[in-house]
Symmetry: C2
Subunit: 155 residues, 2 copies
DNA sequence: ACTTGACCTCAAGCAAGGTTGAGGTTGAAT
DNA sequence: ATTCAACCTCAACCTTGCTTGAGGTCAAGT
């Protein structure tokens, strides 16, 4: 009883704060996995909680499930992921997070500068960058938030 | 010709980089408005470009269209919005942006700390805050990103 | 007059990320 | 032995944020 390694979907839901329906959905998408009992009920290993933590964190940053799934597929799968496995994974994510934060900061900066001078216009300040996190994927670079800072001279 | 104040939906699309269908969609949602010609075609005033810039910027930060629409409804509507109108609006948004950035930073920090020690677990580090921008709405407060920083002692 | 491209409406479809409900089983406790 | 919450599947539905297509009009050039 001290370390029963398996939990039910309900327990997983309770512990993670994620609805049972969502958990089943995640499983259907391959984000988490489970063993089945003789009676066809799901049993999750406890490290699934970590996976879910990772999923929710990633979602909050705006990463789509598919991409999260790709990332998670880098984890071992058979053996329980080690601390290092997680560390490697999250290191990658920290890069994404950093990028995202920088983007937001540029945005905020741009908003300050450009609105202060009244030129909140797309063609000049290029505040509207169509991409976020997904940016890592495509080869085609889209117009970025102002190479030089602000939109100073033209406004 | 120097200052024809009105543009067609196609021109608006071209200048903003937003698809015509999306522009019509925005109009249907009340995010932008247009006058109609005798022949029932849309004509937009040029400051619509600013609105669209604002919309796209806001979307990038993860704000849903409804909320953006609420914000935009604070703009005059009859008279063309002045610089100050925009400034007021964007000041509000900067607050949101700041919050969002802070959240991300807490996240990154949490990711560093908690993963370094191998305890990426929901119940301890509470990295999984279900809400973002939407947080302003619900009365029920969900578990927040660590009151104290990190997950130090328990890990 | 006629062609052509840009415009119009309205309905349907799509993708993501789930939730809801019907109808049926399991399993732990009484 | 029975009960009853918790589990199962599968299909349908929901919201957001658009796109696509059918069927029709408008306006400018030849």
């Amino acid at each position: 009883m001290p370390n029963n390694p398996e939990i039910t979907v309900g327990q997983l839901s309770e512990r993670s704060g994620v609805a049972v329906s969502a958990l089943r959905f995640y499983e259907s998408k391959g984000l988490i996995r489970s063993r089945r009992t003789a009676g066809n009920q799901r049993r999750f290993s406890r490290d699934t909680l970590r996976r879910i933590a990772f999923i929710r964190v990633s979602q909050r940053v705006g990463i789509p499930l598919k991409v999260i799934q790709d990332a998670l597929s880098a984890l071992p799968g058979e053996r329980t992921p080690t601390r290092e496995d997680w560390a490697r994974l999250s290191a990658r994510w920290q890069g994404e997070l950093d990028d995202r934060i920088k983007q937001l900061e540029r945005l905020r900066h741009g908003l300050t500068e450009c609105i202060a001078c009244g030129c909140l216009s797309l063609d000049r300040c290029a505040l509207s960058n169509p991409d976020d996190v997904a940016a890592a994927r495509g080869p085609g670079s889209r117009l970025m938030v102002a190479p030089r800072d602000g939109c100073a001279p033209s406004c």
